[in-house]
């Protein structure tokens, strides 16, 4: 097994003349909860799209659990779970039907038992037989997480998971991230703007500005250096207002 859960080497992504991601090199170890900070359009979602095999980088290489996301995408996909910014599910189907369908695609064994356990873990058994189209944002987020962890991936990608959630929803999400990391030993890669959430859940952070990684460190080092999450916010703002060479 590879020593790194996620590794990228000089990955770039261009759309015509626009460079969305510029030679990103990143190493994330197993067990980390990595917070990827950056303003809108910094390239965070592009990074996640590449790591989840949805996009092919125009340059460079990336691996998830040692599997190349381009040349060995099927094996890479077996290692990952993905929750996009807006959780997209089949609206006309119930939560259980969505999970059953996606579980079948992932080749989950003993599917019904796994679905029950997952819904139990995320405390949303009551949603099982309701149509997804009727769910609130928070409920969708839970089922979105359920589908992403159904096959017990080693790495979980969350793209702006707290976007649009109320304070209760954000607390629930934070608790779930900590739980998944502690109980299921998942490495978590989380795109976010929310400094407070990063300070409460992450073990390491990276800051992306105009497609370039401008800072990466453990949260402990950052906090030791800057003291509190308010100062962390100042660090983030200063890094994001710098012109990238």
């Amino acid at each position: 097994m590879s020593e790194l859960a996620i590794q990228t080497k000089d990955i770039s992504m261009s759309y015509g003349d626009h460079v969305a991601l510029d030679q990103l090199t990143l190493n994330i170890e197993y067990g980390e909860v990595f917070g990827f900070l950056g303003h809108n359009g910094a390239g965070k979602t592009t990074t996640v799209n590449i790591l989840t095999t949805l996009l092919k980088p125009t340059h460079g290489k990336a691996w998830v659990c040692g599997f190349d996301v381009v040349s060995d995408s099927l094996n890479a996909r077996r290692q990952i779970g993905y929750v996009p910014e807006n959780v997209h599910l089949y609206e006309a189907m119930t939560a259980q039907e969505n999970l059953r369908f996606l579980g079948q695609l992932s080749g989950v064994e003993d599917l019904q038992k796994t679905i029950d356990e997952t819904l139990e873990l995320l405390d949303c058994k009551d949603l099982a037989n309701r149509r997804v189209g009727t769910f609130s944002k928070g409920q969708r987020q839970r089922i979105g997480l359920a589908q992403a962890i159904l096959h017990r991936p080693k790495v979980l990608f969350l793209d702006e998971p707290a976007s649009g959630l109320d304070p209760m929803g954000m607390k629930m999400l934070r608790d779930l991230i900590v739980k998944l990391n502690a109980e299921l030993k998942m490495t978590i890669f989380m795109n976010t703007h929310l400094i407070g959430e990063v300070a409460k859940t992450c073990t390491s952070i990276g800051v992306l500005n105009q497609g370039k990684l401008v800072h990466k460190d453990t949260l402990k080092n950052v906090m030791d250096r800057f003291g509190d999450d308010e100062t962390l916010e100042r660090l983030y703002l200063s890094l994001n207002t710098q012109k990238v060479a």
């Binding site: 949805l54 996009l55 094996n75 993905y82 996009p84 609206e91 996606l102 079948q104 695609l105 589908q147």
Partner: protein, 301 residues
Amino acid sequence: MMISQLIAIAKKDIQDALRTRTIFIMTGFLLVASMVSIAVTHTAMGGRLPSDYSVLEAMRGFVEHLEIIGSALAILLGYRSAANERGHNTLALVMTRPIRQRVFLAGKVFASVVLICGCLTVVFVSISVEIMVLTGVGLSTLEVAKLAIGFASTGLYMTAFFLLGFLFALHLKHLSHALLTAFSIWLVFVLIAPQIGDTLDPDNQAVGGLFSQLSVPHAQEVEIMNKLGTYEVIRTGIEQLSPSKHFERLTFALWGIKGSYIGMPLSELLSAKIIDILWLLGYVLGLGGVLFKRQVNFTGD
């Protein structure tokens, strides 16, 4: 694993079509149009259906409904199959699973072929019963076989148009452009090209045939037509491009609508129409080839 994934995708799509009643609406529409056309033909002929040779002759209007309505419904089915995934951004959800793109596409195509066959089964069984009730004549084994071959040809024809709608809805940046483009092509190949082929035929310029009206001897007719060689190549070329024309030629021959094929043994008839069968197969294989070859953009960027 690949087979179980394919079945899971097909099952999901079929359940979705049943749940949203799409397939019921499509079947109902085609069924009503077909049954009305048979009844109208029967009435127009003073209740004297069938002719001496084949009860299936009553299906001329039905063929035209399949050509026009069937192909339009198939485009809508294809568009819907891809637009549902793109519109709800569920492509990314599926494609972060360990599934190959071709298995995903095969599952969706398989589901739609099942839905098309289901729709056609209801329509073909209903019109067969209608013909037997109206004429009071049962269908012979040969007629049932001809109906079955016609059923398969219709399935092939509709699958080609399903693939057209599906391809555009899957690959064009804007979904609204996809439907517009697919229907523009439909307009050209289903309505315009066959008409051009017919209206530009020199012999079709007068009722009963131009040469016959002018009492032109056959040898002279051949001589005139030889002078129009290039023109005829272009005219038939336009006609050949239309899948509707091939479908029409095949079914008209099969069901005895075109008189020269009445009484012809089935094997001989199929040999005579092999070009039309190959064209229909070619459309499906060509469009299927493009579908499975092209990389799908799963993020919508």
